[in-house]
């Protein structure tokens, strides 16, 4: 599924690299706030749902070729996270919903 379909359907805000949203293909999803868990278990092209907002999430996303990072509970990315994500071409998304609710909706949409 294309990322822009998810963005529209969930009504999430795109914070960085907006031009990539139309092209990026989401192949699955992973929800975790432990970086080692994500590094070990997420796969290429996955949408990563997390509450972590510091810049270290970007290295994890880059190493795993994550499709996009989705921040939960209205959490705002740190200023250096925004700047670095834009520079490195990583899509950061923001939602007011909780991890539980987001993952439930994504699963219903067919992201597994």
């Amino acid at each position: 599924m294309k990322l822009d379909q998810i963005v529209r359907q969930l009504g999430v805000r795109v914070r960085t690299t907006e031009d990539k949203v139309k092209e990026v293909e989401v192949k699955g999803g992973y929800a975790s706030d432990l970086l080692s868990d994500v590094i070990g278990n997420a796969k290429e092209g996955y949408l990563w749902v997390t509450l972590q907002t510091h810049a270290n999430i970007l290295a994890v996303a880059k190493l795993k070729d994550i499709a996009a990072i989705l921040l939960v509970n209205s959490r705002k990315p740190d200023a250096d996270t925004l700047e670095k994500a834009e520079k490195e071409g990583i899509v950061l998304l923001e939602s007011d919903l909780s991890t539980f609710e987001l993952v439930g909706r994504l699963y219903e949409m067919g992201i597994r």
């Binding site: 432990l34 970086l35 080692s36 070990g40 270290n56 290295a59 994890v60 190493l63």
Partner: protein
């Protein structure tokens, strides 16, 4: 075995700003050389965990990437507190990380087990008060023609 490529990366303890840079560079190099994706994925996980361990615990360290036709090797040597009980440190879930580090999502006690899981050969040695050394070898599944 002939070394095709070798590079050293310096890692500063406590430098969370640049954390992940060395492993990201390693991934880029492996991609450019044309190492198979599955090998790159395993190396990236092991390199990232080793790098983060140095950022979290050590004063400083060096990570050396060596690419040979049959394997990719990462050796890590740090100056730091060392590990008192290696067997315990290798257990998934065991961690000595501070609450601040855990809040950032690090220190889950998965680092060393993740490294071992993704290595074909793995060895660890440590001296308390001096530092820790890791040797990580991952087989390169495609034999190069030269």
């Amino acid at each position: 075995m002939e070394t095709l490529f070798s590079q050293q990366f310096l890692v500063e303890g406590g430098d969370f700003r640049n954390a992940g840079n060395a492993s990201t560079q390693i991934k880029t190099i492996l991609k450019q050389i044309g190492i198979p994706g599955e090998v790159i994925r395993r190396v990236a996980i092991a390199a990232y965990e080793a790098e983060m361990n140095m950022v979290m615990y050590a004063k400083r360290g060096v990570m050396t990437l060596r690419i040979e036709p049959m394997k990719v090797e990462i050796s890590v040597e740090d100056e730091g507190p060392g590990i008192e009980d290696i067997e315990l440190a290798m257990q998934e879930g065991y961690s000595t990380a501070s609450p601040e580090i855990r809040e950032m999502g690090f220190g889950a006690g998965m680092g060393l087990p993740n490294i071992k899981k993704n290595s074909d050969e793995f060895s660890i040695a440590s001296t308390v008060g001096k530092g820790t050394q890791l040797s990580i070898r991952i087989r390169n599944r495609v034999v190069q023609s030269e």
